[in-house]
Homo-oligomer: 475 residues x 3
């Protein structure tokens, strides 16, 4: 197995081609290889770890749940149903994992040159020990090997968590979550550190489906009167406290834009009333989200949660697809973003307060050098999140460093997020990032812009320490 | 001659400098060198091939008609008249090709580091066999050699077409074109595949000079009543049918923005009436162009034409120059573009239909990774056109791949367009692109992000197969 | 000393890592090393040279006055007061240079990977001959060495000016400046060429604090009636004449945007009245700045001053910091820019006039390839300024060339600006730029996109001749 894995995954993969630079990069990469994984932002299901049940079908785990794969296959005419996506109207979808995997394998050439291929090759060979490349003609063989492996004890979630060296894993949990799985995990006495992240979009964004019934549910859960501005804020504070009690160190907010708004209590009450009891227009909904970011930052100053802002996606750009399959099918599209104006109300109020940490992520790379690095290189409360989504890729990570470091330095960044949807794929993503980091730093060393001792320290910062510090991963 | 050409044009030009990567790139380039040329988008005059007459003066062909050269020379104070550009008021312009060439040669240093120099050096040495570099002191010698060559039988258009290995050449033809040259070509029995492209901007864009008289002419040509919305659409359908009959496989649309609009028939009729019979404002003109893109996409579903959208140029930014010389003098300037919102009406209606192919080109590189790759990597009907205009260059093509491939893959791109204005320059442009492609792929191989077998397959896709498939170049 | 400097500053620093390319780059760099320095844009205080007094405390000179250092330190929680910044309310600030330097040294790791570190290492080792690296534990030693050096005769401003090989140095001077230091310099008979630059923002931008009293002062200085549009323009012309008499070759304008406006005299008079005697809103202030750019361009046609436009900074983005410390504390943030529309009124009027030189600088890199290179590659009056501010850095300069040269060529750029705030740092900035230039050109040579002879000529253009020519530095 190992010998084959080496031909699929070269030991120097993703390191710079120039031999002298590669030698430096290899040393830097090796120096980070054994560092534990801090995963402060992702979408693994905590239930898997709570109950330590075997993974379900590998094709469902690795294909059906991966929006990167779904979108690319769909763009070339592969029906989502054939990949196991279930239409909302109960129409037929492929139920057989083996057949889903065959369909994927038949089109795997589409992923040449993409990070999806890098991640999958790593997951198959290094995590699952598959000793065949993914090709149409090997589909059944690979599928059988994956199934066999996932049936073994050593491939249960907790065993993998340990094997991967995960030191800290944050899941993403809605404001209405009972955090049941986290409670089970805690009660189990298992020492793995798995914590929730407070993601209140469902009760903060008036344009989310079910917003008003979510507020009702929030009131029931917290015994607060969420029909008033004050009661609503109390309910959110109450929920944050529950998350903090369950170990949370951060909140996360996925907003269409980075708009923030600092309104007077009277203005806030009026806007809340329009949003909750009236028929808010798009501008009012946007303003309400902006108002809430400032409110949430104020709460962070009290309870210490790091505030993550993921802005700039046009969710469900394809209405026909959303109607048929629901969200998260690969049809979210980035759009042009502004941060310099949008964040100003929040920064005017809290930007100089070093006790607060706001981590900003972008889908608009033009803001790296123009807006985000200058802002993060000045405001004590602001940190720059790692490349996100389409940019969590070799070229994307390189562009990030080249555009950001000269202006913001390394210390105003927060290391890596894997944003993984499956525990199985976490090591692959960290490995790609650590390799690209090593290559970038090696270029600085090879050009005598940094000495290797400094580069090694920064490689460790990027691989582990910055994330651990920013997200308070060390208890 | 050959030995000199090698000193002007190094055999490894444009390949990566790192020796290991260069060796891979050289192999990949060599593997594509003999592939035929598919040229699905350009501006060659079909009359030249129809009548197979010798090229006119080489300075007029290579300098006066090249807006890249005109603009750069003008920016440094060289009068356009001295380059043969004819003022509209009949004022004097240099009539002598030799003198035009001398003026160009005197300033040829301006083009160091630009693609114009790469293209011209290739055309002169490889196509015309000139055995002297372009310098002020060699101007007459080079001019004499070019003239001598173009007088030979072997340098007539059809002979060059064959020598260049052109498999498919699409010209660009207005909606009012009689396609006379294409008819002559067809009747001649010459086997070269030269087809028109339907470019109806003159009858679709209300802001084009002569728009209303163009509609009148369109009515006369098609015997349709172009004063009504229905008759106007019928006339366009009729013209498309003529283009299809003449071999067309695509339409092309040069719009100020990518705006699309899906209006009801009543709304469309009202807008048409305002645009054709009233005095439309800029917003109405813009909306009408957007409406027409959706209508044209609907027609494409019927007749199979690939819809190309070239958006984002501010045409004739320099009004004094436009008044003096007319359009296409190098004074068109790109502007900021939006696709995510602009294309949504069209995509909402047809984006999920894999029978349609919409190819989008941009002049705003910021949209590559933020908008176009995500869109093309999701919608079955959307493909991403190659780097266009200022970006059809070594650095431009590299940036395109680095920003696009990780998100859209290769399969959602459509290979190369030369956009050439002279048949003489076609091989140069494909050669530059194939070399840069090889270098990009070689970097992926050298970094073990792709194996060389896959890279060779993709090199052939990029050089030939993707364009042939997307533009239905194989009859 | 020299041997140590070599370990801090490798002789091949900033040159490409690939050995063949590095050899070319080294030759190109060496060919420019001895060229004199033309510094057409910066913020050195002319009083230092006028009176040739020793530099004050090195920590104040190199840290307290450097907004790059202040901002980064502040972003990581270091109080500006501890770096010597004086609160406006008279509150305490660290008065001791040694202590300021210790604070800086304690945090110097923040600057790894930034141009600040490159500049400082060069200044310390090459200019001041310090033979220890900057580290927390060497703080006192380095501080003592710097102080000792600055006390020597050979480190007085004029001696350094000569040693640095400065051929031309332009300072930046407000419209109300008496140019006293320049007069002293001139009278002294010292042959160094130090000239003022006319920077009239204080009397052109209605949103500047003190705008109206500045106009009063302007009237007093010029004996013109600055309460009328005509008198105001006369006063500005008068001041320009004084600057020209003092050797100025350029004006400089720092505007929030690049908007220009060409109004009729009546419209201009009305706008002037609203701006000076009424309460202009933000749009009117913006329009007035745009109006003035066109007026100033018209004046440039008369008096020959090169017009520099620095656009796109949101000044004093952090109001709490501005209130406490005033401007220039590192809290100016770039914002999205437009040039294609904004410059059109100015270009419509003067863009075709090669006697005018307008140099445009941007903080929005997305405009390089989309807007500025296309504009500069067409309009005879337009030139593209070098990378500015956050982009005057190794990665920033590389991106500039890669995005600009293919479209605008080299001849439409104007070489390097150091934008230095201290004479001590001028050589460092030119050295970094010359090295990066050499590396970029070496890549073109190594890829056979340019021959080395041409590259050497362009290296000299970029290092010296383009700036000398554009800014009329040769008397």
């Amino acid at each position: 197995m190992q010998s084959f894995a080496l031909t699929v995954l070269h030991e120097d993969r993703l390191l710079p081609a120039e031999p002298g630079t590669r030698r430096i990069a290899r040393r830097l990469y090796e120096s980070t290889r054994a560092l534990p994984i801090v995963s402060p932002h992702g979408h693994c299901d905590p239930a898997g770890l709570a109950h330590d049940v075997p993974f379900a079908d590998p094709a469902v785990e690795l294909v059906t749940r991966d929006h990167y794969l779904l979108r690319m296959l769909y763009s070339q005419g592969v029906p989502l149903e054939s990949l196991g996506a279930q239409p909302r109207d109960g129409g037929p979808a492929e139920p057989d994992g083996r057949q889903i995997w065959r369909t994927f394998a038949a089109h795997c050439g589409l992923f040449r040159g993409t990070p999806s291929k890098l991640w999958l090759d790593h997951t198959l060979t290094q995590v699952l020990g598959v000793d065949a490349p993914v090709r149409p003609e090997t589909a059944d063989d690979v599928y059988d090997q994956m199934c066999a492996r996932l049936a073994e004890e050593a491939f249960r979630p907790r065993a993998l968590f340990d094997r991967f060296g995960v030191e800290f894993l944050a899941t993403t949990d809605g404001a209405l979550s009972t955090l049941e799985s986290h409670a089970v995990l805690h009660r189990s006495g298992w020492p793995g550190r798995v914590v929730p992240t407070f993601r209140p979009d469902d009760v903060v964004d008036p344009e989310r489906p079910g917003f008003r019934s979510n507020l009702t549910a929030l009131g029931e859960l917290t015994r607060a009167d969420t029909s008033t501005w004050k009661g609503y804020l109390d309910a959110i504070r109450e929920r944050r406290a529950s998350f903090v009690a369950a170990g949370a160190t951060a909140s996360d907010h996925g907003h269409p834009s980075a708009l923030t708004a600092d309104l007077s209590t009277r203005e806030a009450e009026e806007l809340f009333a329009r949003v909750v009891h009236g028929t808010p227009n798009a501008n009012e909904a946007e303003l309400f989200r902006g108002l809430m970011l400032v409110q949430l930052a104020a709460m962070s100053l009290d309870d210490g949660l790091v505030l993550q802002l993921h802005a700039g996606a046009w969710r469900n750009h394809n209405p026909a697809l959303a109607a048929r399959f629901g969200p998260d099918m690969g049809a979210d599209i980035p759009k042009r973003a502004d941060y310099v104006g949008a964040l100003k109300p929040l920064l005017d109020r809290f930007g100089n307060d070093a006790r607060l940490t706001v981590v900003v992520y972008t889908l608009d790379e033009t803001t790296y050098s123009r807006e985000l690095a200058p802002l993060a290189g000045h405001y004590p409360a602001l940190r720059l999140g790692p490349p996100w989504w389409f940019f969590d890729s070799p070229e994307g990570i390189r562009r990030f460093y080249r555009h950001v470091v000269e202006t913001a330095g390394f210390a105003n960044t927060v290391g890596f997020n894997d944003d993984a949807r499956s525990l199985l794929t976490i090591p692959a993503r960290h490995d790609v990032a650590r390799r690209i980091n090593a290559g970038y730093l090696a270029e600085l060393v090879a050009e005598h812009r940094m000495d290797e001792e400094d580069a090694e320290a920064i490689a460790a910062d990027l691989a582990h320490h910055l994330a651990a510090r920013a997200f308070r991963a060390t208890p």
